[in-house]
Assembly symmetry: D3
Homo-oligomer: 157 residues x 6
């Protein structure tokens, strides 16, 4: 989610879940809509396989947006899919505080997030950086991930 | 959804989502319950594959009803499935205004819905009519759909 | 499956599995194709949710046919779906021998199948008959199923 | 669900649904987390297949807890999964009143629940007891289930 | 599939299906592996949600390759996933002959494929071209698709 | 899979895939059957969500067995599920050679498998051992996994 790309200091917020069941959209349309929604600033977007009335194999399309984006994304979904109705819920969200850092390994720099929430703390390694350094150095992802973890431990995480 | 079979002038309403996780119902029971619920006036009904505790392959059964139908459909689900508990949520729904029309093509009459919502407008062609005319004329659905779209464009959509 | 509607004396046969991954068909198309295929004599037909390339939510459409129906159903699928390629496998099938009987209960007649296979034997109650008698008598399916089972046991199963 | 293991006199309560979309957890982690959550007192726990952004095959992990367990299970999920954010909803639940009883059959004792809700009543047979007696007596589950149902009917359920 | 990007004159060939059930890979790994496999020349690649032993939410990873690519892609899967075993099947494939053409519309050029198979013929419009022209002209995909279909019909498809 | 619990010297073998589509089994039955099959020596067992005819939410049950176990597991499935027909395929399997070892860490002993296949080599850590030591030492799985990886690297992997 977009959640993962930024510094976050608070531990909760509110989000809107917009969802619609689609038995008249193709997979091509669904994946294009998910991509567009994220490009336009939706917090998250996904699809769930469902079985609709008359035994129709279908997907439920789900969008997570900021409450103030409701109007924009309702119109977006009505314009980009065959949906004629959308269910909307306001949801509470608990989130971990995060601090973004860079770790220097022998395989290159890799971003990490130091995460904490009311006494719980953990580290999340940037997946895309692992993939990038793996392609550059021809080393396995596993090896690079290990190097990052060792580096973090050495620094006394 | 039932939403699609009628003239609608408003652009939002409220609906109830009733859901229950079932690892002790068969697929035969689930599809019968979905069909019965729609026949009895539920606004929508569907099933989602889930993996329950103890690794049980299962389905979540979901019903969308009007708020005043809660009592009726709670009893319906308790009577027609092995469910012993139901989760219930009130959901806001944004819906497109719709006007139902008939389009005359060389392949016969086909119903359409003219949909609009705060400046967004689109047309939805009645799937069942396409299927019916396709069976009657032995023409492909694609061809009939195209004829309808051309007719709409000619009339100045 | 069609397997279930007839008397069967042998315990194995061969069937063809035709399958195709579709990210450009709607759920409406898929369910119509499944229904048509069964009406035209396919032995079984179903859909499986899959995730295709470029992250597309999609369905794999599967048809089970007799080996001699290959040509017919390959053309059927090319005509009724956007598929441009089909994977085909010949599969061995082990099946239970079956004898169809009618059981008379206080709730009306219900069909059963007496099934056997190399020493294994069981009874299968006709689901559609249970549903029919349940609608006619307003008794629960469970009660009618129980009555059928008792009747079978009394007759010395 | 935990719902099924106890005597219940009321017909509704409130529960929390905690959910998070995970494209960076393995199935091993997910099933361990579901098991742990139930051992620690969650009311229910399950996973739903979803397709996340960038076309990632993923699972939505769902936990049902008592409202007062929120803090505990939020920390639990942040500690046991890679989740960095959780969506939380308060849900209303309608539940059937239940009375737990033992039924004595020729295959041994089997627990049942007598369920009722505003005039609807039904009986649920303890699945685990059926399995246990089936293993002990080498009789099929179907036969034991039938014996229980007959016993209940005889007692004038 | 790669099938769709090229001129094809024959109507059948043979392909290998490589598959493995993974409860120890993350969604990030799975989608990266699917993308890499296609970049390296696999004919198709996808994932199917499954429920593995011990109730583990998992995915089956499937690769379609040319028979002569077996060695390459077996090593690829062992190197890029935690798989320690792969199931392999040789599958027959029926495919439609195709001729690739360009159609000139008022919204720009769009590629089409003229498909035929033993008397069945149809046209497939290049989805990516529709998306590209839709982004350039700000017209809906539906409108552009319609223009292409009309153009084809005018030319006497 | 059972594959993972033993020393293996060869790099390929043959297995049978037994599968059946079930719309008349409950999730409880399916998970019990999967567990029983593995206890009785099946090589693997899993379920896939599918949508059967008449729009029935269902599961495909899959068993992987040795070719010589066919008779045993066909009877097993006919006895333990409502299946009246089973599809059977002989599948080729490529597998990695494996050597099982124990690694001593500060958190206790953990089993690993050294895997190799035609020049590809990797190490797989015993998931259950990680879980066990994590429960005993109250350390996170991640930390123990890291310790094992470091130990392997130190010994010259
Ligand atoms: Ni907080
Ligand atoms: Ni409005
Ligand atoms: Ni509103
Ligand atoms: Ni869902
Ligand atoms: Ni035989
Ligand atoms: Ni045979
Ligand atoms: Ni009440
Ligand atoms: Ni209430
Ligand atoms: Ni041919
Ligand atoms: Ni070899
Ligand atoms: Ni080989
Ligand atoms: Ni599948």
């Amino acid at each position: 989610s977009k959640l993962s790309q930024q510094q976050v200091d608070k531990t909760n917020d509110s989000v809107l879940l917009l969802e619609t069941n689609l038995d008249d959209a193709t997979g091509q349309q669904l994946s294009l809509t998910i991509k567009k929604a994220l490009d336009l600033g939706a917090k998250d977007a996904w699809a769930e396989p469902i079985i609709m009335k008359k035994g129709r194999p279908a997907y439920k399309l789900c969008l997570l947006t900021a409450p103030e984006q409701q109007d924009f994304f309702v119109k977006f979904l009505f314009s980009n899919t065959p949906a004629i109705g959308l269910r909307i819920q306001l949801m509470h969200r608990e989130i971990m505080e995060r601090k973004i850092e860079q770790v220097q390994t022998v395989y290159g720099k890799v971003g990490i997030k130091k995460l904490s929430y009311h006494g719980v703390s953990k580290v999340s390694i940037e997946h895309d950086d692992i993939v990038k350094q793996s392609q550059k150095t021809k080393e396995s992802s596993e090896k690079i991930r290990l190097a990052v973890l060792q580096e973090i431990e050495n620094k006394g995480e």
